[in-house]
């Protein structure tokens, strides 16, 4: 029997998060996490099984959408710059955070790796929002910055499979199947749209969700983790869906009405308010290490290759939100992060969406 009291409270929280997000002009996901914290820590609402399911579905769909956003043509055009800076933006903070955690904690390698991986992300959406606000999105500068964030994201998603690696023959089979999927799936979706598209029952959207669960299942069986499958599927669909924006619109409607709020509210409900207070110094330390290491890893190359805005670019690479939250959630689901470690990681991830963005806006290039 569904607990209608919890359900009503969560549904109300979702609406309130939307309104506050519009008012404050920030992502509703941050507000959803905060309301999740209040629901669990103040109102003592428990995570129901329906919320678990919707949150899992939401995490997969968000990862899929992240993959579908990747512009492969842009990556090819800016391969050298994005490949090198993106790799450094991933590796240097990863190593720095692991080193920091090794110095001050006695946590296991897997815990430190999962936490560091979540903190090495760069948020494509945060970067998009800032570039769009300052009308830099379509400039060469904007394209390089976006390409770097794509590379960073891709490396983090691959890294998730290494949190608890247990690769086997199925892993090899799954990886070998990917090129076949790259060829087959775009043809399938195009046929689906031609034969069954533009109807009320939205067959093409159903197909995408079914493909999402099927590929995620096989990725999980291949020990690559379900989110890896979701991201790869998004990458495969990227070109096809970018030609059919109405389908992306419908996917977003489903995702942002209920799936994404469920994901972020559940994440918030897993946060311990006490742990946030007790671990404030550690959270601050992790954030500082992220900022410093992103600078250390990227700044000099940004000065060489993005001379019009090296500080601005480096600060944007220091942001993180959705993929960081997904990585932290995976760590928790795998049992690698306990509640305190998850709390510390997620709080640092959210702060990394806010703090570098505020600072970056002081360094917006005037002429591009």
């Amino acid at each position: 029997m569904v607990d209608l009291y919890s359900t009503a409270l969560i549904a109300t929280a979702i609406v309130i998060a939307g309104i506050i997000a519009i008012r404050a002009k920030i992502s509703s996901s941050i507000i959803e996490v905060v309301l999740g914290v209040i629901l669990a820590n103040v109102l003592m609402v428990k995570i129901e099984s329906w919320l678990e399911f919707l949150a899992t579905f939401g995490g997969l769909t968000l990862t899929f959408l992240a993959g579908a956003e990747v512009e492969s043509a842009l990556l090819k055009r800016k391969a050298k710059v994005s490949g090198i800076i993106g790799s450094l933006a991933f590796l240097v903070p990863l190593i720095a955070e692991i080193a920091f955690l090794t110095l001050i904690t006695d946590w296991t390698w897997q815990t430190k790796f999962a936490m560091s991986l979540a903190l090495t992300t760069t948020s494509v959406a945060v970067v998009y929002a800032v570039l769009t606000e300052y009308e830099i999105m379509r400039t060469d500068l904007g394209k390089i910055i976006v390409a770097v964030t794509f590379v960073n994201d891709i490396l983090v998603i691959i890294g998730i499979s290494f949190i608890q690696p247990s690769f086997n023959i199925l892993t090899a089979i799954f990886l070998l199947t990917l090129p076949v999927l790259v060829f087959v799936i775009p043809k399938l979706i195009n046929n689906m749209i031609l034969k069954f598209g533009k109807r009320a029952i939205e067959v093409e959207v159903r197909f995408i969700f079914a493909a999402l669960f099927i590929v995620s299942f096989f990725a999980d069986q291949a020990k690559m983790h379900a989110v890896f499958g979701a991201f790869v599927l998004g990458l495969i669909f990227a070109n096809s869906l970018q030609k059919h924006q109405e389908i992306m619109g419908k996917m977003r409607t489903v995702t942002f009405t209920v799936l994404s709020p469920a994901f972020f509210i559940k994440a918030g409900m897993l946060i311990s308010a006490t742990a946030v207070v007790q671990s404030a110094a550690l959270i601050g330390g992790l954030l500082a290490v992220k900022l410093a290491s992103k600078f250390g890893g990227c700044y000099l190359l940004c000065r060489k290759w993005i001379p019009e805005a090296p500080e601005f670019s480096t600060l944007l690479f220091s942001t993180g939100l959705t993929i960081g939250t997904i990585t932290a959630t995976v760590g928790r689901d795998l049992g690698v992060l306990n509640q305190t470690q998850f709390t510390v990681t997620l709080t640092a991830v959210i702060l990394s969406a806010v703090v570098p963005t505020i600072i970056a806006k002081k360094f917006v290039p005037q002429k591009v």
Partner: protein, 158 residues
Amino acid sequence: MRSQENKQTKEIMTRRSSRKKIIITVDQSDYAEKVMRAAYDVAENIDTDVDVLTVIETPELAAAGELDAAQMEEEENKISKYHKKLIDTNFSGSTLLVESVILHGNPAKKICEFAKKVDASIVVIGTMGHGKIQSKLLGSVSDKVIKNCHCSVLLVRK
């Protein structure tokens, strides 16, 4: 002949740079027509150049999927066509220079920043006439523009 043409061009450019400018802020509601008509009267009376401005609201912080480059481009094309329709309907036959401008971000902030950048003399903006609760919950762009804009603001009521 050429020096005469160059002189004329220089005169036009000087005149343009010293002319007053008004900004008409529009959304895609039916109400935008009323705002355009009110702005036309003002612009014709004081002989100004006009910028028809729409700010596409984007969050300052966004999560994955909330912003999409292709979707934004589609939105911009739609608004560009809408501006053209408004300009053709309301300013056809006018000798005023009327341009379309599309920006992104926080609408009130962007309107005020743009007005300052182009040294506008008037911003024409509509008010949706939201109820008190809705205004309190969602905020009012026109209220914020009135408070923060450096120049005069003409509020056109629904």
